[in-house]
Symmetry: C2
Subunit: 632 residues, 2 copies
């Protein structure tokens, strides 16, 4: 037992954005986590600050949105562009556009801004509630995947920076969330490949200002004859200014070039003329060089992993660092859980690097394209109008297309994972003519679209995409169409899902006999939550006549009877917005990180469940979908 004490499921190094989200998930899901950080205390202020619309969804799914909003973050709905007036007369607003235009279907069409210290604090409070404490100031001094212990193959040496005491632990996994200077990455010999080889020195200053500049509470990019600046409104009457101090494209490029607070303020005063600005106080100031680079590998052995800034660094302007880190962490967390819970083959972990590295590459490409887009000219009013529009017929020139994909990307809804064993495509091992439904707008690899429906048990109006919390379960959404039309198909679905070799039966809870009466999400299996949405008014569904296995998900049976402004003429808004025929319905499997996995037709007979079994069988550690039927 004493020996057992230094064995952990995972060692997480670093308590920045990627480390805290990973630590929270795994601690909550029952893993033994060793989490260290080399700073004596958490971030006090400053640093990363922008939380994208899609990240707000992720935080809500983790139960953290209320804590975030309690900080009263500044909310950026709009970006304004300021350019020089001719004749040295200062600057003028030449355009503006929504930071998350209406064509992006999100509940949170804004970026929320609070400093990283507050974000870390809300995670750390919850991590502690889940039983993990971040040890500080501790650092990693050595590690080796030596396989001495087959179950805990990774040996890690940690050192307390206060006492110099060394602690050796064994772990199933080691995760580096160390930031740009990663000991783990260096020891592994993983190189950073620099895109375009452009580097920058940035000055960033958070402070409280008084000014007559009218857009001080709006995100702005300002080009003037005296230089450029980016303005980001912050919580507590603060504003952040980004000033580019040097670029490797400068003739006198010096990566050690710096600037004092006073120099940056003087520069800002010049740039903002004819408006005046003065500082009440400066809360945080930093100058840092940034190279836009991506680690060539995120893991070498699928035991030692990296994420966040350890894998990708880029300009802070796009506000993507923390958000990309969150996605890295969530992506790794559920896959490790799927493997360690005995559900998925170990090879599932091989999808972490390609999925996340591709997004980092998109990010860097975007970063450059975004800059180029604006250096040419501001958008015209007509182009802004077209770009904001929801109307698929609006004319789209290259400018508008780039703008749209930029907005999708900065909002976080542009994260689109390629086809692989999790994201179904025609080349997936699971083959059935029931995969894919014409007209359905959901795309495997992309986030599940928000819809609002009525829960039958308590008539509550709910946000369907948030109904299953981030607990590592796959979400199976059965859009059950009209109750009369789909009665037989639903009965067959219930019947075949009860067969011995179905995904639900094979992975049923070992404690199924003792599951609480109040269990809402996982009555049968810890790995799946079933949801049933009927194209019907609330009173049109007879709960009592549903198959028992459906009734067991009493918290997840819904009527699709809430109007949606995005499909104003729809009778069954959720079905129709997603593109389902409201009579036929269909089944959507959503990954534990809320990305769509596959879409299957809902038909009479065994076909639908056969297709789902085949889908999960592609990465299941136990065979699914064969053998004689028997009951759950």
């Amino acid at each position: 037992m004493a020996k057992q004490d230094n064995r952990y499921d995972i060692v997480i190094v670093g308590a920045g954005p990627v480390g805290i989200l990973l630590s929270l998930c795994l601690s909550r899901w029952g893993y033994r986590v060793k989490h260290i950080d080399n700073r004596p205390v958490p971030t006090a202020t400053g640093r990363a600050d922008g939380i994208q619309p899609r990240s707000i969804e992720i935080l809500r799914n983790l139960g953290l949105k209320r804590a975030l909003m309690a900080y009263e973050p500044a909310k950026v709905y709009d970006v304004a562009f300021w350019d020089p007036l001719p004749g040295g007369k200062g600057i003028t607003r030449t355009g503006n556009w929504p930071s998350c235009p209406r064509f992006i279907d999100t509940r949170y069409p804004f970026t929320a801004l609070v400093h990283q210290g507050k974000i870390e604090k809300m995670f750390l409070d919850e991590i502690e509630k889940a039983g993990t404490v971040v040890d500080r100031p501790w650092t990693i001094v050595d590690f080796e995947n030596n396989g001495t212990d087959a179950e805990y193959p990774v040996e890690v040496s940690l050192k307390c920076l206060d006492t110099n005491v060394i602690e050796n632990v064994r772990a199933k996994y080691l995760f580096s969330g160390e930031g740009a200077r990663s000991f783990v990455r260096e020891k592994l010999g993983v190189k950073i490949s620099y895109k375009d080889q452009i580097s920058f020195v940035w000055g960033v200053m958070d402070g409280v200002v008084q000014t007559n500049f009218p857009d001080i509470k709006t995100k702005c990019t300002i080009h003037s004859d005296s230089g450029s600046i980016m303005v980001i409104p912050r919580e507590d009457n603060m504003v952040r200014l980004y000033v580019q101090i040097a670029s490797s494209t400068d003739p006198d490029w010096n990566p050690r070039k710096t600037a004092t607070v006073e120099e940056v303020q003087a520069a800002a005063k010049k740039i903002l003329r004819p408006y005046v600005i003065q500082w009440d106080r400066v809360e945080w100031y930093s100058v840092y060089p940034i190279g836009q680079g991506i680690a060539e590998k995120y893991t070498l052995d699928h035991r030692v992993f990296m994420g966040g800034d350890a894998c990708h660094t880029h300009s802070p302007k796009a506000g993507q660092g923390m958000n990309t880190a969150f996605h890295d962490a969530l992506n790794f967390a559920w896959k490790m859980h799927a493997v360690e819970s005995g559900f998925a083959n170990r090879s599932l972990l091989e999808s972490y690097e390609p999925e996340r590295k591709q997004i980092a590459e998109d990010l860097l490409a975007f970063d450059n394209k975004y800059a180029a887009l604006f250096s040419k000219r501001p958008p015209s009013a007509e182009e802004v109008g077209n770009a904001k529009s929801n109307d698929a017929n609006a004319e789209e020139n290259e400018f508008v297309q780039t703008f749209k994909s930029s907005c999708e990307f900065t909002s976080g809804y542009g994260v689109a994972y390629d086809p692989n064993v999790i994201n179904w495509s025609p080349s997936h091992p699971a083959q059935s003519h029931l995969f894919g439904i014409d007209g359905v707008k959901l795309v495997p690899g992309r986030a599940f679209t928000p819809t609002t429906v009525t829960r039958l048990s308590d008539a509550n109006m709910i946000h369907l995409e948030q109904e299953v919390p981030a607990n590592g379960s796959f979400r199976v959404f059965v859009f059950a169409g009209t109750p009369q039309k789909s009665k037989k198909a639903l009965e067959d679905f219930a019947s075949y899902i009860e067969k011995e070799k179905s995904f639900l039966s094979v992975y049923r809870r070992p404690d199924i006999a003792n599951v609480s009466y109040f269990e809402r999400h996982n009555p049968h299996s810890k790995l799946f939550t079933l949801n049933f949405i009927f194209a019907s008014e609330k009173n049109g569904v007879d709960m009592q006549s549903l198959p028992q296995i459906v009734k067991d998900y009493h918290h997840h049976i819904y009527a699709d009877d809430i109007p949606d402004v995005r499909v104003p003429h729809a009778k069954y808004s959720a079905h129709e917005k997603l593109g389902f025929d409201p009579e036929q319905g269909g089944v959507v499997v959503v990954r534990p990180d809320s990305h769509v996995a596959c879409i299957v037709r809902l038909v009479e007979g065994s076909g639908t469940v056969d297709a789902l079994n085949a889908y999960f069988n592609a990465f299941s550690s136990k065979p699914l979908g064969q053998g004689p039927g028997s009951h759950l």
Copy 2:
């Protein structure tokens, strides 16, 4: 100075719903509050629990909504009716309807349920932050409005129930929130008049149950051959059952009749047959007699006041007790503030009793009517459809009408104060042809309707009705129509409101020279916040060209450019939903408790400001609107 120490602006007796809301407002607004409660500790659990849609708005306006929602209250969206099946075969659902149907325009179409202890706690935390601590266990033993001190005319004797120490204090006001057994009311000799003279004994039980009764998470009234019961879902998997144990209409009426937990459970089991129910645990159980009564007076001298259960008691079924108490407290708080801040004549306090007593009378009348409505028959499907509808042309029989007014009442939006010096009507002292605008749907005395607009300074999408917090200020909403059309009218408005005798100038802040740059709500006067809403897209308003006095409210300048599902064809949803011509606009004065005060046309010349001056002059302690003009 030692003598000064026992002088308070107000002594509040009782820390139940009415006392805590009053204490919070007055403590925050800078008053010296002595607040006592005779219980040694706050409510632990049980008691009142239902917070209406309109009360949720009030809590949000006090900054308490996030704390409320953090308790994860049960939300009641629907009420189901169960009735006996013929032949003793148990019960069946005969109907259901929304508890807050769509014709009621609210952001929170549900009742939130958490026990009174949690609600008290969130108030007590904030009261303490505002500098007041509730002394416990203390009681009131004597009081007298003896005028010995003209400024603090009320002498109050308080006694500590732990030590028997007596403390004598002087106060400007004494407020009894003591509940049904009020020492203050008895000493004043105020009688309770009992409506209909019907009394009841109720048993109420909060507990965690397991049942196959399908509507256990819905509010239900159940009539069976074995008796009647009301089911209210609660937070934390609890359910509340109300059982009527005795009624004064019973032949063997005995107000001391009681029942044990086991008896109530046995009764519930019989009533719910054929469904089964069993208790995991009982959290709270109480039996109490209720007489439906109203105090004849709420004050005798406008120094000693009463509110909450001290003034009105009624059946708990309608879920109105706590909500009515909140309204009592808010109504008194802002009026006392208006008087004590030097703004309003003391006679303004005379409106507290008639406004609040009328609502208590409406409540008792409603309580009886509501009961009668259901004892006859459940509503038909068609009636429910008509009643839910937003369509003004739907046929309305008496049943539907009663239902609609019932829903309005239970949601809190039925509170409609009669015309008086605050609620303008043609008999108001202020006379101008500019009062009242044809087509405008706002009614003086009723709550201001929710609308969503875009704030110009930061492009945030905001809820207009919540933009000014409950800080005791009147809110002046200038619906400024189209900027081009209303330019001159708005310039004149700005010009005349700057004149020496305008309401804004006469009551300007004495510290106006030192007002913070970041002041959002009260740059000129602590008593008024001006808001300007333009019928325009965000980019159609040139902030720079607005009059300086308008620009001073930079946090309160809005564009009416957000679609609203309730007026799907409107271009300027807020203007059009409220009934304003989007070209002309108009001005709405809203009381500090969010009830509409008056509506005035926005015209060129001095007329609009003249009308507003005349309106406020009706209760202003200083003359408004006369004399030569000069600048603020």
